[in-house]
Symmetry: C2
Subunit: 165 residues, 2 copies
C-alpha cells in the first residue's frame, strides 16, 4: 500500500489522479489530436508544456493506468503512448468540460468547434467516438465512420475560414 488517499469520495479520487493543470491536457492531445509520441506532444503543444513536466506526467499517467507505453517498432528509441480503457471513458467528462468552458470562458472559435460538435452529438456520439478510440488505442475491431476525422475536418474548416475571412 504505497498510496494513501485523502478520502474515498469518487470526486476526490478523480481529482487526485487528474486534478492538475497538465494531465488532462496531455490526454486531450492524445485523444483528439492523436499524438502518440513524446516529441509530438511536446512540439505541438498548444499550451507550451515543459519537457520535464511532460515526462513526469506521462510517467504518472502510465503508473495510474490511464496511458500505456510501448516501444515503436520503427525506431528503437521511440515510445508510443496509448489511451487505456479508463482514459477512453473520460470522453463524457471531456464533453462536459468543453461544454462548460465554451459557456463560461473566453474560448477561441477554432479551438471550441470540436467541443461544440461533441456537445451537440451527445451520448450517442460519445459512444461512437469511444468505440473509435478503442480501435486506435486498444486494437479493437474497426466499425462505422470516423468521429475523430469529422471533428478534425470541422476544426480545419474553421481555421481555413478564419484565414480566408
Amino acid at each position: 500500500m504505497e498510496n494513501t488517499h485523502r478520502s474515498g469520495c469518487p470526486i476526490n479520487l478523480t481529482l487526485e489522479v487528474l486534478g492538475d493543470r497538465w494531465s488532462l491536457i496531455i490526454i486531450r492531445d492524445i485523444m483528439f489530436g492523436n499524438r502518440r509520441h513524446y516529441r509530438e506532444l511536446l512540439n505541438h503543444s498548444e499550451e507550451g508544456i515543459a519537457s520535464n513536466i511532460l515526462a513526469d506526467r506521462l510517467k504518472r499517467l502510465v503508473e495510474n493506468g490511464l496511458l500505456s507505453r510501448r516501444d515503436d517498432p520503427s525506431h528503437r528509441q521511440k515510445a508510443i503512448y496509448s489511451l487505456t480503457e479508463p482514459a477512453i471513458q473520460l470522453v463524457p467528462l471531456f464533453a462536459q468540460m468543453g461544454a462548460w468552458g465554451r459557456r463560461h470562458m473566453p474560448v477561441s472559435d477554432e479551438l471550441s468547434i470540436r467541443a461544440e460538435l461533441l456537445e451537440e452529438g451527445g451520448p450517442p456520439m460519445w459512444k461512437e467516438f469511444m468505440a473509435e478510440l478503442r480501435t486506435l488505442h486498444l486494437d479493437a475491431p474497426a466499425a462505422g465512420p470516423s468521429v475523430l476525422a469529422g471533428l478534425q475536418a470541422a476544426y480545419e474548416e474553421v481555421v481555413a475560414r478564419k484565414k480566408a475571412g
Copy 2:
C-alpha cells in the same frame, strides 16, 4: 487585460480555473454538503484542507465568478458563500467525475452512494438538482421535491447500515 491564458481551448480554460486539487472539492462541499461558511468548510472537510489554502481558493473562486460572498446578517464577522450560475452548471461535470471515479478508483461505499444516484438519475435529475441549487444559492423560486435531501438521506442510510452491520 490582467489575465493571459495558455490557449483558447475550452478544456484548457476550464482547467485553468478548476484544474487543481482543491477548487472542485470546495465547490463539491458547498453544492452537496450545503456548507456555506468558511468554518464549516474547514472543520468538516473530509480531505483536511489547510486554512490558508481554503482562504486562497475561496478568494480565487469568488474572483473567477464561481462563488459569491456576502455578509451573514446573523453575525457581523460571518460570511456566506454561495454558488453562482456557472458553478451550478458544473453539476453534469460532477456527475461524470463521480461516475468515472466510481468505476476506476477505490471509492468507499458511503461516499459514493450520492455519485451513484446522480449517475442513475441522469440529465433529468441533474436539471432538477440545478433548479434546487438555484433556489438555495440564487434566491430562485422553489419548486418540486428536494434532490439534495434525497442524496443526503441515501448517504446517511449507507452510513447507518455500515455502523449497524
